[in-house]
Amino acid sequence: MSAYTRPIATGRTVTGMSTAKLAVWWIIVSEVVIFGGVLASYIMHRIGHPEWQHSAAHTNMWIGAFNTFVLLSSSLSAVLAHAAAERGDGALAARRLVYTIGGAVMFLCVKAYEWTTEISAGFTITASGFWSFYYTAAGIHAAHVFAGAIIMGFIAVAAKRNQDLHRVEIIGIYWHFVDLVWIFLFPLLYIAK
């Protein structure tokens, strides 16, 4: 690693796991509280407001289902990248990460199309309580997808040079969490009518 100084977190394992991985788990812990808070609020309001069904009826389940498919598949390529990184095949890992990034881009494009349609139909974030939650929850989720794709890009570039392959697993853990959030958002926003 010539001129490149490795961060301390990279090699330390005092907790029984690499500190970098532990840090990602801590991020996920805090994300659980963020998304958990939003989703729990959504659920209790949804139960208390039967009239939201009229708004919820306008979400497009097939778009949500397609995006679920895209995210689950991008998780597969992320975990396959991890498998490749584990056996030291940085080039393959990088390629598989690029597939995952492709999934992220696809997800965001579908989301952009979906939101454009809804907003132009008048379903804006202020239209009703349901739509406020819809755009807030899906919006912070999409922000996570966006951020994850960018970080994954950096990691893929390094992985291609066989640098820091352990990071492939770590970004994977984050990515699977983002997938996980969507697994719950999908039935909450698209199926429960």
Binding site: P50, E51, A57, A65, L72, S73, V79, A83, G90
Partner: protein
């Protein structure tokens, strides 16, 4: 998954797998890993199909209703989401292969989320209790249900703007926006109003109407008290309501006007109760209203019960149907 993932490090060795030799020696292990991951993905896909098919079957094929439908949707959509999540956590995130404390800290976060839910949910999910009532939420539900009903069966394909789902209810808006100061019955005796100096106008007194007409009311709502030389405490509502809504609010205010004595009727001046926009004289009306005395004593008179009932009946009869 036990044999498929046994070669995962359990911690201590760090994670520089790029240099691990044992993995290189077990090429078939890596292949088994990948096959395992693809299998998990296949299972997730099947679960996804089930979670979509369940509610569709319940609604469109079996036409289930009530509790049975609820249970089918709950199990297929949400039960399966939990199974999917469990698969992802175990096989993709490898939580079970991390040191135990990782599961504990994530579990703690989930527990806090539950705690939050169960502490707050009773207040949010219910709108009334033994000695409390969340009127705003009840109103929201009522308005939403009425608006939803207007559109007939909720269907996923309409493109009607939702803004029209909640009609502007002038009487309700008066109660929530004007009522705190002017009183819900327009007597100038709202809970906030009694603390103000000068006191808010009382619309139920004949003396108030001696020098004011509908155009004046519209102007004050739109431009605020100072526009007619009155208190700054009466704000301008031009930003909050559109002209039509201001007209509707003026109708509400007009409805508080006491019936004029028979001999006073000079011209037919029945206030137009339905929401008909009346052309508002713009600037020229100002000098006329300037004549209003600056500090008119707005003494709230004692109102008899019979009088209150008469006014309530008047409001119910004239306004409630009109504001729908």
């Amino acid at each position: 998954m036990s044999e498929a993932t046994h070669s995962h490090d359990h911690g201590d060795h760090g994670h520089d797998h790029g240099h691990d030799h044992d993995h290189g020696a077990h090429g078939h292990d890596a292949a088994a890993h990948e096959k395992h991951y693809i299998k998990v993905w296949g299972l997730l896909m099947i679960l996804l199909v089930v979670s979509i098919a369940g509610p569709i079957l319940a609604d469109d094929v079996l036409h289930l209703e009530g509790l049975v439908r609820f249970i089918v949707v709950l199990v297929t959509a949400f039960g399966i989401a939990i199974v999917k999540a469990q698969q992802v956590v175990k096989h993709f995130m490898h939580l079970t292969l991390e040191p135990k404390f990782v599961a504990y800290i994530t579990g703690t976060a989930v527990a806090f989320m539950m705690l939050f839910f169960f502490f707050v949910a009773p207040d949010v999910m219910k709108h009334a209790g033994r000695n409390w009532e969340n009127e705003a939420a009840e109103d929201a539900v009522r308005r939403g249900m009425e608006a939803g009903g207007e559109h007939g069966a909720p269907e996923g394909t309409t493109t009607e703007p939702p803004g029209h789902e909640q009609p502007f209810e002038a009487r309700l808006e008066f109660t929530t926006t004007c009522g705190p100061c002017h009183g819900t019955a327009g007597g100038g005796d709202g809970p906030t109003g009694v603390t103000l100096t000068p006191r808010p106008a009382s619309f139920t007194e004949a003396v108030f109407w001696e020098q004011r007409d509908r155009a004046h009311i519209v102007k004050v709502i739109r431009e605020g008290g100072p526009s007619v030389g009155r208190s700054v405490l009466m704000a301008s509502f031009a930003m909050q309501f559109n002209p039509e809504q201001i007209e509707a609010l003026a109708d509400v205010v007009m409805s508080f006007r006491p019936e004029p004595e028979p001999e006073e009727i000079a011209q037919p001046e029945e206030p137009p109760v339905p929401l008909e926009p009346v052309p508002i004289p713009e600037a020229p009306s100002e000098p006329v209203v300037e004549a209003a005395p600056p500090t008119e004593p707005l003494t709230p008179e004692g109102i008899t019960e019979a009088e209150t009932a008469r006014r309530a009946a008047f409001i119910a009869e004239r306004l409630l149907p009109a504001s729908r």
